[in-house]
Amino acid sequence: MARYLVPLGIFLVLVAFLYRGLSLDPKLVPSPLVGKPMPAFTLTRLQDPNTTISDTDIKGKVAVLNIWATWCVSCRAEHGALLELAKTGKVDIYGLNYKDERAAAQQWLRQLGDPYVANAFDDTGRVGIDWGVYGAPETFVIDSQGIIRHKHVGPLTAEVINEQILPLVAKLQTSP
């Protein structure tokens, strides 16, 4: 009996591992920044090259930081979801315009609508490196102390916002 059970057991273990592997996305790299203070930065504002925005401007309230660019196709796909999130008024959305052109990005916001409280303009991508950005769009949830609590890689959808982002935001707002 054992001579049949042992190979069957090994087979089942293999199946379990391979099945788990099927549902893992290799593109999702866990960020070491979750649980750490957000990286410091000072950049010009997208809408005004003469004024700056820095990490201290984001601190103080629970906030969402969205990394986007006009060359990023998935960013266009998630834009509607971002507008919906902004409409709820439950959380401030900041933007990091990543390796983009200022005029193109301003045009984008005029055309598609502007869900952001403010946008930082990171044309070289240097601040993006500090934030561990490896592909737009990426979205961070930051608590009132400026600690990064969550990172979402890939486009936001209504489902992601309602099931992950908003519950976390509500939790962080009640227990800072």
């Binding site: 290799p26 593109k27 790299v29 866990p30 960020s31 070491p32 920044l33 390796k99 070289t124 991508g125 240097r126 490196i129 500090d130 934030w131 561990g132 950005v133 490896y134 592909g135």
Partner: protein, 162 residues
């Protein structure tokens, strides 16, 4: 003849374009000497590109890889040690950027799993061999031995007959 020549030329061009292109992306970096350049190349070959995932920073043509190569280059020129540079990248992108993951509790299975499996296989093999040896030397009854001798004798004598 002409067609063969063209085919060969095309193949050579296609084969040649890969490595040529790879060195071209690195040409913009200037080093004090060949040793410093080799050091830089060794370092970026050990780091993994996050965008293409199965290419090193040295091989990747992704936008982020360009930026990270420039970043690593600046740190090398600033006299930072390899540990400092690797730490800089790991703090931002996690252990994923390393082709050699560090030994820590979450990677014990990765590092020691194969050895544990080998040990288990060794033990099972040893047990199987021992069991087989025991059954091979097992005693047989006198009646069986007599029957065996008879059978063997019969065949031996049988072979002598034409």
């Amino acid at each position: 003849m002409m067609k063969n020549f063209l085919t060969t030329l095309t193949i050579l061009l296609v084969l040649g374009s890969g490595p040529l292109h790879a060195t071209a992306t690195l040409e913009s970096f200037k080093f004090a000497d060949a040793a410093a350049e080799q050091h830089f190349k060794d370092l970026i070959a050990e780091l993994r590109c996050l965008v293409c995932q199965n290419q090193s920073l040295a091989d990747s043509d992704a936008e982020l890889a360009h930026d990270l190569r420039a970043e690593v280059y600046e740190m090398v020129q600033a006299g930072k040690s390899d540990e400092e540079i690797v730490e800089f990248l790991v703090a931002r992108y996690g252990d994923f950027v390393l082709y050699k993951p560090p030994v820590k509790p979450s990677t014990y299975l990765l590092w020691f799993g194969p050895f544990a499996l080998m040990l288990l296989a060794g033990v099972l093999l040893l047990r199987a061999v021992r069991r087989q040896k025991r059954s091979a030397t097992a005693e047989i009854s006198d009646a069986d031995r007599k029957r065996l001798d008879d059978l063997l004798g019969e065949r031996n004598s049988g072979e002598q007959k034409p």
